[in-house]
Amino acid sequence: MLRTATLVITFLAGFIMIAAFFFDVGFLSVAEAQIQDWGVIVAAFALAMASINLIQVNVNKAVSSENVTDKICSFVLLASLAGMSIIGLTKGPTSDTYNVLFDGIMAPGQSTVWALGVFYIASAAYRAFRVKNADAGLLLFSAAFVMLGAVPVGEVIWSGVPAVSQWIVDVPNMAGMRGMLIGAGIGAFSGGLRLLLGIDRTEVG
C-alpha cells in the first residue's frame, strides 16, 4: 500500500511539473509553485537528515574504532559540527563569533586544501605525464597550448598561442562536450521517465 502510494505521488508530482512547463494553465501553475515550495522544505529536512547520519557514523567511529587517527578525526568533525551548529543557531550566521570561526578556520582550511591541488598536479605531471604514444602526445600538445593560452606569458612566447588555445577549446573540446551534454540529457530524460512510470523503484526501496 505504502509502495503504491509513493509511486502515485511520484508520478503526479512529476506529471504536474512537466505539464506546467509546457502549458500555461492557472491551476497547473499553482500546483507547480506548491510542489516547488515543498521541494525546498524537503531539501531543508534532507540537510538535517544528513547531519544526523554524519553524527551516527562518526560517534560509532569515535567510540569503537581501533584506529587512533580515525578516532581523532571523527572527534574533531563532531566537535566542529556541534560548535558551528550551536553558534549558528543561537547567535546567527552573521554574528562576530560565527564570522571568526568561518573566516579564521573554515575558509582558510578549504582554501588551503584547494590550493594544495596544484602541487599534487605538478608532481603527478612530472612523474606520470609521459608521451608513450601518439594519443599521449596529442594530449600533451593540447594541454600545453590551453595552459599557455590561459595566461599572458603564452602570447609573449608566440603570438599565435591564444588563437591555437581558443581553437582547441572552441572546436575539439566543444564537440566532445556537446556529445557528453546531449548524452547526459538523453540519459536524464530516460531516467526521469523510468522513475515517473514506476519502472525504476529504487526510491521506494
Binding site: F21, A33, Q36, D37, G39, V40, V42, A43, A44, A46, L47, G92, P93, T94, N99, F102, D103, M106, A107, P108, G109, Q110, S111, V113, W114, A115, V118, F119, I121, A122, S123, A125, Y126, R127, F129, R130, V131, L140, A144, V146, M147, L148, A150, V151, P152, V153, E155, V156, P162, V169, D170, N173, M174, M177, R178, L181
Partner: protein
Amino acid sequence: MLSKLGRIDSRVLYFILLLSFIIPLLRPLGLPMVISDEVQKTYDLIESLPSGSRVVVSFDLSPGGYDELAPATVAVFNHMAMKGIRMVGMSFWDAGPSLLDRSLAGSLYADKEYGTDYVNLGFLAGGENAMSAVARDITGAFPRDFYDRPTANMPIFDGLQAFKDVELVIVVATGNPGVPEWIRQVGDPMDVPIATIVIAGLVADYAPYMQSRQLIGMIPGLRGAAGYEALIDMLGRGTAGLDAQSAAHLMILFFVLIGNIVYFVERKREKDEADEEGAAS
C-alpha cells in the same frame, strides 16, 4: 644524473613551484594584458544597463574556490556600483552568503545603502528546485534576508517580484548547482540573460553554453579578473596574481618536459643495454 632527476623528491618540486608563485608576486613581471571576448562581452552588457537596473548575483561557490573568484567578483561589483546598478545577492551553497558579504565589503557597494542599492538574501536549500522557486517569487522564497530582516518592505524589491523583472543574472560558480542549472531553470524558460564568473577549470565545460548564447558572458578566474580590472581602470588582486599564474603554468610545463626527457633517455639506455646483452649472448 638523469636517473637522480627521475627520482627527485616531491618536496623539491613543491618548493620550486612555491618559488615560482612567490617571486612574481614580490617582483611583478609586467606581462602584457589580453582581454578575452567573453570578458569584453560581460563588460559591454553591464556597461549597457541603465542606472537603477536590477541584477541578481548568485554566489554558488565554496570557500576553496573563492580566492580565485574574489578579484573578478569585486571588479564586477565595482563596475555595477559605479553604474548605479542595484544588486540582489543570494546563494544556493551554504557558505555563499558569508563569502558574498566579504566581496561586498571589499567593493564600492560598501558605501551604498543596504536594502536600496544591494541586498544579501542568504542561503536557500534545494539546488535547482530552489532556483526555480526563487525565480518565480523572490521575496516569497526569501521572506527574510541573511541578517534576518524582512525583505518585503525593502525598496530594492519595489516592482520586483520575479526574475522576469531582472536585467541580468550573474552566477559566481565553482560547481554544481551552478551555471547549467541556472540556464535550465531561469535563462532558457524565462529568457533572462546569464553571465558567469567561473573558476578556470570549468571554462572548457561551459564553452558550449557561450557558443549557443545561453551564456552571454564569462569571466574565467584570475585572467578574467585582470582583464575586467583593466576595462574598469581599477587594477587589483587579479592583475597582481596573473604573473604568478603565468609562472606556475610555465613551471608545470617545464616539469612535464624534464620528466619526458628523463623518460626517453632512460628508455633508450635500457634498450641499448638490452641490445648489448642480446649481442653478447
